[in-house]
């Protein structure tokens, strides 16, 4: 790669219709990099779940902002999904049916590395890293934990040993 590594920043209203736009931007970014198609597919899923969390959980009434940053490194792409909302806490969805609770387990399974930062009232940041070419399937090392509970929500289950 010549020149500085590409960096893309998206700052948009945290609304449901924006999540597909982020996927399109991601596909465009991946076109410019040597991505394995399976990694791109996983990346779209993980980023969709992170953005969905912002749309559904971050803000109380008026939708706030959804920020997505894509940073291309030598061997991997780092994607940061950020909001300035209420922070990580158990709270109901803004409207609509209760969420399944599968978002974070999916992000953990589909990314090569994943960090969650946030505090009540200070917003939330999900940072995911995806290698352009994988040595192994991250979902094998970090399988989706839990199973469908009787109430129809995802029961987290025991984290893998």
């Amino acid at each position: 790669m010549s020149g500085p590594p590409p960096e893309v920043v998206i700052d948009m209203a945290a609304r449901a219709e924006g999540v597909g736009v982020v996927r399109q931007a991601l596909a465009g970014m991946a076109d410019a990099l040597a991505f394995d198609p399976a990694v791109l597919s996983d990346m779209k899923m993980a980023v969709t779940e992170a953005c969905t969390n912002v749309v559904v959980h971050a803000y109380d009434e008026e939708a706030g902002r959804l920020e997505v940053q894509m940073l291309a490194g030598e061997e991997e792409l780092t994607i940061v999904v950020r909001d300035h909302g209420a922070g990580i806490q158990a709270r109901p969805t803004r409207d609509g049916p209760p969420a399944l609770g599968l978002g974070l387990p999916l992000i953990a399974a589909l990314s090569d590395a994943f960090e969650l930062h946030g505090a009540a009232g200070r917003g939330t940041e999900v940072r995911m890293t995806f290698a352009y070419v994988r040595d192994a399937d991250p979902a094998a090392a970090h399988p989706v934990t839990g199973s469908l509970g009787a109430g129809g929500r995802w029961e987290p289950g025991e984290p893998p040993a």
Binding site: R23, E49, L110
Partner: protein, 122 residues
């Protein structure tokens, strides 16, 4: 022309097929829920055909699981079907969540319609 259509097909008679095409996420999940409700209101079996779907997220899985639960409660057959070549954006989430046997997911619409008619969810 809708880019990511969700269409009810009732040509199979007592089993309604909800055909889901393209990419679906939190934006289209409310429409999917409406179509699934509408299909279940007819009282027969339900097949959700994901053959032409290219991407579904956990919002879509939530809608499918709620429809499945309602179908179970009212003893209506429920099957999700895929084609021979399943898009990675559909196959991966079904595989890693272990929901293939739960939903259940079957191959081929015709087989799925027969299974939904016979109540394959039990």
């Amino acid at each position: 022309m809708e880019a990511n259509p969700i269409v009810l097909d009732d040509t199979a008679g007592d089993v309604v097929v909800v055909v889901v095409e393209g990419e679906h996420d939190i934006y289209t999940a409310p429409t999917l829920r409406e179509r699934l409700e509408e299909a279940l209101d007819r009282g027969g079996g339900l097949v959700v055909d994901l053959t032409a779907a290219t991407f579904v997220d956990s919002s879509v899985l939530g809608a499918l699981l709620d429809a499945r639960r309602r179908a179970l409660e009212s003893a209506q057959g429920f099957v999700v079907c895929v084609g021979d070549a399943v898009a990675p954006g559909v196959r991966r989430i079904l595989d890693i969540t272990g929901l293939v046997p739960v939903l259940p997911v079957m191959h081929g619409r015709d087989e799925s319609v027969v299974a939904a008619r016979n109540g394959a969810d039990r």
